[in-house]
């Protein structure tokens, strides 16, 4: 640490500079360590910031394409994985209740029909913005069955406070029973 103002200013200045540089290097090292941790977890768990940029016309979601109402919710794919499609709009997510199987790869495809929304699933690290004009695609896996809340987390207008959805994670066999002939499922009443 620093000393009291030394007698010989030139000598003191050199000493001060040395200490200072040592601190600066230590701090740069500390920051480098943090970055290294981010990179390590990025490689080890294959985590990337969630963005796979893709555009879509928000005005015609309900008319054609994968976000028509009858195609929303959880879709069972041929490889056994599940694709969950959600539309956010003032002031609800459709489907309002999302059901997914546990221990199964799940891909979310979420978009907005009007303004910026956001979604998070409590008790998980699922967290995404939902923007008009873009599809948010992200992959996850739920380990344990259970109920979660899914609030809209970005201000989307007066009424935002009422925009809450639910996520139910169920055992894979229970999920299989919910899936109808169209291979789509949701827990909307």
């Amino acid at each position: 640490m620093a000393r009291a103002v030394p007698a010989d200013p030139h000598d003191g200045e050199a000493v001060a500079k040395r200490i200072e540089n040592r601190w600066a290097l230590t701090m740069v090292g500390l920051v480098a360590l943090l970055v290294a941790m981010v990179i390590f977890t990025g490689l080890h768990w294959a985590t990337m910031p969630p963005s796979r940029v893709e555009t879509i016309n928000p005005s015609t979601l309900h008319v054609s394409g994968e976000f028509v109402e009858s195609n929303l919710g959880s879709a069972v794919e041929t490889d056994g994985s599940v694709t969950v499609r959600i539309v956010g709009q003032q002031y609800s997510f459709t489907p309002q209740c999302i059901v997914v199987p546990s221990r199964t790869p799940v891909t979310f495809r979420v978009t907005s029909a009007d303004v910026i929304h956001g979604m998070l699933i409590t008790g998980t690290n699922i967290n995404s913005m939902v923007s008009p004009g873009y599809i948010s695609t992200f992959k996850t896996r739920f380990e344990k069955p259970g109920d979660h809340l899914m609030p809209c987390h970005e201000f989307c207008g007066t009424g935002h406070e009422g925009m809450w959805a639910n996520v139910k994670v169920v055992e894979p066999d229970a999920f299989a029973r919910l899936v109808g002939p169209t291979r789509r499922a949701s827990c909307d009443l």
Binding site: E20, A24, M27, T41, P49, L120, H153
Partner: protein
């Protein structure tokens, strides 16, 4: 010698008066959405209040403080009357007009879009025009700071630029450049739609432009506080600044690294590629460096003061510090809050951890702790230090000042710690009310009540602050000694060009803006599919 006391006082008083009003709105919001109050029957009132609170606290208040303090520094550090005094007043009135134009439609419920705008929601155009006027008014200040330094340098060729002015101009240029993002968003995206010239808006592009402003604005807020750390506190507590050149390097690094990191606000956004998010994440880590350097230099400067006062031992010197001095107290409290807030910031910066707390109450807790806590407490401290020089009257009531600073610290901790916790529980932001009876939401209710109490303590502290300043205006006249800034242990005799001017650092700032923002902006501009219809708020069907 301070020549334009009225100009400087006008800026500070307007800043603090607006702050006094906006803090009441903040506490009202905290209370109204807590379990202590039933659900608001007109939810829009809450969103109006958030819009007004954010606009004042985020744009108007810190800008006016930086401007007032900037004019003060220019005169006190350069020892020359402000060049462009009329322009300075013009900028001031522009900010007043802009604030009124912005706040009136907000109060009428025509602009419940929050201070972060959120296109494609579009409100009444007057709000956006008002914000633009505030920004343009502040650009007058940016230009004047550059001009005043230039005039001084011409008159003093080769002389070292005083540290306070070096940092002040760095802050001005940072603001001048970072405000460009929001200005572009307002002028080329939002206003054309709000005024009826365009029928679609690129929401993704707007968000990227806003992020250009949104992070570096924090460092603009922070500049006056850091200038006070370096150039006021050491002098006020009877010490010396440990290192003049390290101080300059810190400010230069802020200039370089504050700007090209804003996309970390968009970690969860679908319109920006993952690669740019990683780049911004790594650069965000770098912006911690100048703060870590500052912590060292200031602690060392404080230690010098303690040892000059007879402090001994490895840590024993801490006892010898002038704890009765408001500057010392404010600095210590600010550092504690900076430490906690900075730790939270490192979490936000790491995108893996961010996904747990992104857009939750954690984030609101974080920026209240950093800005409202660590930075604003230094605004108070610098006002206490400057006031006698501006009014020529004694600042009495040191006891009151102590209470005020301590209450601000305690209030901020009680406000923000539970706030962070609520975010960890997954509590979303910016909702007018919550159903705390729902399963799993009771704990969130408890933290909101605690935060409400913290907010009430802050209101008391703010009232004390205004009281101290108001009472000063009728206190006994004094003839304060000429204002001085801290002297460094080793005063610079001549400085390398890189530390005596900002050219190199400005060049890097602009270059990094181009590398880190250029492609995302151009790419989004060339994506017509990104243009979406606006959603008008405020009753237009």
């Amino acid at each position: 010698m301070i020549y334009n006391k009225r100009l400087i006082l006008a800026h500070f008083w307007l800043a603090f008066a607006l702050f006094g009003v906006a803090i009441l709105l903040g506490e009202w919001q905290m209370f109204i959405r807590s379990p202590l109050h039933g659900w608001l029957r007109n939810a829009d009132l809450y969103y109006r209040s958030v819009t007004a609170h954010g606009t004042v606290m985020g744009y108007v208040f810190p800008t006016l403080v930086a401007m007032g303090f900037g004019y003060f520094i220019s005169e006190a550090a350069l020892g020359q009357p402000l060049v462009g005094r009329r322009w300075a007043w013009a900028g001031y009135y522009m900010i007043i007009i802009g604030s009124v134009a912005a706040v009136v439609p907000v109060a009428m419920g025509l602009d419940s879009v929050l201070y972060t705008f959120y296109p494609p929601m579009i409100g009444n155009a007057f709000y956006y025009i008002g914000v633009v006027l505030v920004v343009v008014g502040s650009w007058v200040w940016v230009a004047l700071m550059g001009i005043n330094l230039y005039v001084w340098k011409r008159a003093h060729p080769g002389a070292p630029v005083p540290l306070a002015m070096f940092a002040n101009v760095a802050g001005a240029y940072l603001w001048g450049w970072t405000a460009v993002g929001a200005a572009l968003e307002l002028l080329f995206q939002i206003l054309p739609v709000a005024l009826g010239f365009a029928t679609t808006i690129n929401a993704g592009l707007s968000r990227v432009l806003f992020s250009w402003t949104l992070h570096a604005i924090v460092y603009f807020w922070l500049m006056p506080a850091y200038i006070a750390f370096y150039t006021i506190v050491p002098r006020a507590i009877g010490g010396r600044l440990y290192s003049d050149s390290m101080a300059r390097i810190s400010f230069a690094l802020f200039l370089v690294f504050a700007m090209p990191i804003g996309i970390h606000h968009l970690f969860a956004d679908p319109e920006v590629g993952a690669g740019f998010k990683v780049v911004h994440s790594i650069f965000t880590a770098m912006v911690a460096v100048p703060t870590l350097l500052t912590v060292f230099t200031i602690c060392a400067s404080v230690e010098i003061a303690a040892r000059l006062r007879g402090g001994k031992g490895l840590f024993g010197w801490v006892k010898a510090l002038p704890w009765a001095n408001p500057q010392m107290l404010a600095l210590a409290l600010s550092f504690v809050m900076l430490g906690f807030g900075g730790a939270g910031g490192l979490i936000n910066m790491s995108y893996q951890l961010d996904s747990t707390i992104h857009n939750t109450q954690w984030v609101t807790g974080h920026f209240h702790l950093i800005f409202g806590g660590a930075i604003v407490i230094m605004y108070f401290a610098l006002a206490y230090d400057l006031w006698p020089h501006l009014t020529g009257r004694a600042l009495l009531n040191l006891r009151l000042v102590h209470w005020q600073l301590w209450l601000w610290f305690i209030g901020m901790i009680v406000l923000t710690f539970p706030w962070h916790y609520a975010g960890l529980l997954g509590m979303p932001r910016r909702m007018a009310f919550y159903d705390y009876t729902a399963p799993g939401m009771f704990a969130e209710g408890v933290s909101v009540v605690m935060s409400t109490i913290g907010g009430a303590i802050l209101v008391v502290s703010a009232a004390l602050f205004l009281t101290v300043l108001i009472r000063n205006h009728s206190a006994a006249r004094v003839d304060p000694e000429p204002f001085t800034f801290s002297r460094a242990v080793h005063e610079p005799v001549s400085l390398p060009w890189a530390l005596n001017g900002l050219g190199l650092w400005l060049g890097l700032m602009i270059a990094l803006t181009i590398t880190n923002y250029g492609y995302p902006i151009v790419q989004l501009m060339m994506t017509p599919e990104g243009r979406v219809p606006p959603v008008f708020v405020g009753g237009k069907p």
